[in-house]
Symmetry: C2
Subunit: 244 residues, 2 copies
């Protein structure tokens, strides 16, 4: 089986490490790559084809792992040559998933939960062909959401709605507790019901959000656009809080 | 040692069960009690004095466990007769705690976290004399917050700020996930990072909040009054969400 890679960033490189099997060969192309990426590719055990068109045509599974912004362009350029399964791992929105189906016959949308290079990344997939990708579970925990393309993206968005809004709540609560001189006690008392790692997890979420508040705000804006007809009282408050 | 009880509801009855020691005698009075309460008192191993004035005067520790509304009146009536420690367990606000110090020399404010009749109630206490109550830890986990009367009440309020706002977030997230047909998947994906009991705990919080939304709204209003000079974006959103 050949797994073709378009994009050779963190996701592709980690998949190469995770998916080691005699039956699986990875393929990509050096077409248009930077010197740095060329070197990284040439240093890895991966078959190099002349063009991405060839990669698409020869792959049983074609993985697009570039960036959310270029996912649609990649699908437009190479999707039509792909005879196998096209797995998009670009962390795209449910709408983009739908647009990609116009260029790709056999789309599976995938969402990686947890960082790909962390201890426990999990791959969520959806789409009619996702059953055929469940063998990946041997290498990276893989869960099928449904037969509907877009459900993995939607699920990731729902998760992110919760965690980002929770971070805004934690920022506010920590600040209130600090103002009362009771920050340590606040985290301690909550760890009784929220788990021993509540403080560590919360502080990491707070810092992570404060350090990338612009990106988090943009992601919350996307969420609000997507669910515009729903009651988003808490999410809107989180955007207000974080974008300050 | 004599522990006097004013109020014979759930808190007092459970303290009687929890604190069993040869060295400790409980005392209360039947003064002004309903028939039902009289019967309950007469059926328990507790010394009965003629009046609450006597109870206050004879107790080493006088526990006021009536209701938030009557806590100040109780303190005004009996506080002046109390020579020992006056422990208020009425779930009062930090302001009320301060008002009570006008009637009571030796106040310790206590906040019970978790239900008193649950598996794991914890007693938080604050005030100069709280050290003298740490022996209670033998019977019910007891933690001193600080020497400042009101800190236990403040800590309970901070905790409640977080948990009530979190419940509002859970209500919104569950509703969004349900609208996408991904409710089970939403809880499952979050249990990976939030703990195995995430769904169970969340559903219980959601139901608990929806079933007593009026009371929860009032409590959020009190919180907003208390912290009025702070940024309460998330708490105000929670009030809006819950009071609908």
């Amino acid at each position: 089986m050949i797994i073709g890679l378009i994009g050779f960033g963190k996701v592709s490189q980690n998949l190469l490490k995770l998916i080691e099997s005699e039956d699986i060969e990875f393929a990509t192309s050096l077409e248009g790559r930077s010197d740095d990426t060329r070197r990284r590719i040439e240093n890895s055990k991966i078959r190099i084809l002349d063009s991405f068109k060839d990669v698409a045509a020869e792959s049983d599974i074609l993985i697009s792992a570039t960036s959310p912004k270029s996912s649609l362009e990649v699908a437009g350029l190479y999707g039509k040559y792909c005879k196998g399964i096209y797995l998009d791992l670009n962390n795209i929105s449910p709408e983009t998933t739908l647009q990609i189906t116009e260029h790709v016959d056999n789309l599976v949308d995938g969402a990686i939960i947890g960082k790909i290079d962390s201890k426990n990344p999990i791959l969520y997939i959806s789409g009619k062909s996702s059953d055929e990708l469940l063998f990946l579970d041997e290498f990276i925990p893989t869960k099928k959401v449904s037969d509907d393309v877009g459900d993995a993206a939607r699920l990731k968005m729902l998760r992110s709605t919760y965690t980002k809004t929770l971070s805004a709540l934690l920022i506010e609560s920590q600040s209130l507790a600090r103002g009362q001189g009771l920050e340590d006690e606040f985290f301690e008392i909550l760890s009784l019901t929220e788990g021993d790692d509540f403080k560590e997890k919360s502080v990491s979420r707070i810092n992570n959000t404060l350090n990338s508040s612009k990106r988090k705000s943009e992601e919350l804006e996307e969420i609000i656009d997507y669910f515009e007809n729903e009651d988003l009282t808490m999410v809107r408050a989180a955007l207000k809080k974080i974008s300050r």
